[in-house]
Amino acid sequence: MRRFQAPVRPSPGAVAIRVRGLAVRRGQTAVLSDVDLDVRAGELLALVGPNGAGKSTLLAAVCGDLAPAEGTIELDGALLDAWKPVDLARRRAMLPQHTTLAFPFTVADVVAMGRAPWAGTPLEAQDAEAVATAMRDTDVKAFAARPFRALSGGEQARTALARVLAQRTPILLLDEPTAALDLRHQELVLSVARDRAQAGDAVVAVLHDLGLAAAYADRVVLLAGGQIVADGPPRDVLTGEALTSVYNHPVEVLPHPRTGTPLILPERRTPTPGASASAGGALPAAPAAPAASASAGGALPAAPAAPASAGGALPADQGQMRAL
């Protein structure tokens, strides 16, 4: 047996993940190309960008799930391939987008699985405390004894996060940690992530909510079409101009009046009072109009069509309600 050597936590500011010239292909299509990225210990880095930009692919490549077509990825100072699976598991933890479970393990069982890489090492002594802390931080203690599969989507997502936190690695990779969560738990999860970064961990999170990225991230990397288009502090990266072009949708960015944090506002068409009156004054007119305009692919002159179609659909709905 080899003697166990606990991984040394990189000092704050040291490069924990180094990506150089990374390209990833799926079949013939390049989904990532020419990606250079350094993630430092002590920072929370948000990966943002539209669907299909390559955020999850980049995260999967960094955690070793996808082999790069070109380029290198170094983790804690050594090439990804050079690490044995268990040594890698003691250095980085990965939260996947979805967690499925083949058997009815309880929430406490699932969180305890995060301690597996430390089995048989002196750090095994921390198991109970690490599991309890992770469950408290993610607010899952109340249903610790319930089967994981019986939980709601948001509860499952927090349990999966608790498992990853319990692994206690100096590198944390989180793929959409807030996707299934309500407002309070989104804030809770990102403040936990920020706390981990401030304690010296390198945290990378894929986020779709740009407001959350602006509020919590130390650094934002904006991806589009498989390439990094901007990399820097939230204020520099999340500008109206950049977001409008990357997301192909008009976006306004305003500083918060008190904190100065960027507030990201996609342009939303509000129905004119006249249009909603012509729809018979019924409730669903307001939500229906933005949905119709969104599906029109951002083509502006769709506006007159939206209330008309909403108005057409309404009498049927109302008729149904009366029938009920």
């Binding site: 990965m94 083949a102 009815p104 393990f105 699985m113 089967p147």
Partner: protein, 342 residues
């Protein structure tokens, strides 16, 4: 904790049932006398000796090897089922899907028909063992692509191999004479009637080694239920674990099937029952499934040889007749309580 209580309870039940089963049959020996006979052989002069005429002989020549083989076969099948379900992360998997049973049947049928006897009385068992192992690794290697094994591909390949094996058995029976056909048919139904100390001496070490290796990997099997990638993120060498465990399952199932033919349903239903009582953690599931499998086979064999006077029901038929509907009921229940299989 619940774990020791469950394992001790199952173990005690198994010992009691084994004593009763050993004493039951045409020559009746009460459990106290069975125990007494065992202790006398162990050099302890405690308890009554069998009082029935030929009691001692019936126990040591016929009953004990049969009960011990039942325990070994049941433990191997129960543990192999739990292991397979863990390896594939699928509660409906069983050793049969990777082709062990049908491969073993082809091996045994070929040996019976060709009359090859290079291994003496062990030829049929040895051929079954080789057939099972070969089929399992054939399925596994052909279902690999790009260094990975997709579960769906593996299951479908297993189905194809099972179909081919079924055709081969049919072909072998077509070319065989009437005696060979009867022997194959009997072997396929499953029975412990041919149990001897020699067969125990072969299966016991194989089964014990397989169960020991399986227990050593219990914690990593738990992680596999998260899926391949999360298991790898937690430090499991997923491919290596899978290959190793498929080998262990082949060893367990083929060695159990070799002397007794195909005894169905044990590997499928026993782990389900245990999971309902003890939860899905493999550190409890594997040993408890082995013990419960042994209990089921001991009881089923007792029923097979005592239900009809002077006749022996085929064991595999009995377990399937009882086990099929039982499994169906379990499926419905588990599906409802889990809200679907997902």
């Amino acid at each position: 904790m619940r774990r020791p209580a469950l394992l001790v309870g199952l173990g005690a039940t198994l010992v009691l049932l084994a004593l009763v089963a050993a004493g039951t049959g045409q020559v009746r020996v009460p459990p106290a006398e069975v125990l007494g006979s065992l202790l006398h052989r162990a050099g302890l002069d405690i308890g009554p000796m069998p009082s029935a005429p030929q009691g001692e002989n019936a126990l040591w020549v016929v009953r004990f090897p049969r009960v011990v083989l039942a325990i070994v076969v049941g433990a191997a099948l129960g543990c192999a089922g739990a292991l397979m379900q863990g390896v594939f992360g699928n509660p409906l998997a069983e050793p049969g899907i990777i082709g062990v049973s049908s491969g073993a049947a082809v091996g045994a049928a070929t040996a019976i028909v060709t009359g090859v006897s290079t291994l003496g009385g062990w030829t049929v068992a040895g051929a079954a063992f080789m057939g099972g192992l070969a089929a399992a690794f054939l399925v596994y290697t052909t279902s690999r692509s790009g260094g990975r094994t997709e579960v769906v591909t593996l299951v479908l390949t297993g189905i194809a191999v099972n179909a081919v094996a079924g055709a081969l058995i049919g072909l072998v029976m077509f070319f065989g004479d009437a005696d060979a056909v009867r022997a194959i048919a009997f072997w396929q139904l499953g029975s412990l009637a041919q149990a001897t100390w020699a067969s125990v001496a072969t299966t016991l070490p194989c089964a014990a080694a397989g169960i020991a290796v399986a227990l050593a990997t219990a914690r990593r099997l738990d992680l596999l239920s998260l899926g391949d990638r999360p298991a790898r993120h937690l430090g499991v060498h997923v491919e290596r674990l899978r290959i190793g465990m498929i080998g262990v399952t082949a060893l367990l199932a083929a060695s159990a099937v070799a002397f007794t033919g195909v005894i169905s349903f044990i590997g499928l239903v026993v782990p389900h029952l245990v999971r309902m009582v003890a939860g899905p953690g493999h550190r409890t599931l594997l040993p408890a499934s082995a013990l419960a499998g042994a209990i089921v086979v001991v009881v089923a064999d007792l029923a097979a040889r005592t239900l009809v006077d002077y006749q022996e029901l085929p064991l595999g038929v009995l377990t399937a007749v009882v086990g099929g509907p039982c499994f169906f009921w379990l499926l419905r229940r588990a599906r409802n309580s889990a809200g679907g299989w997902g």
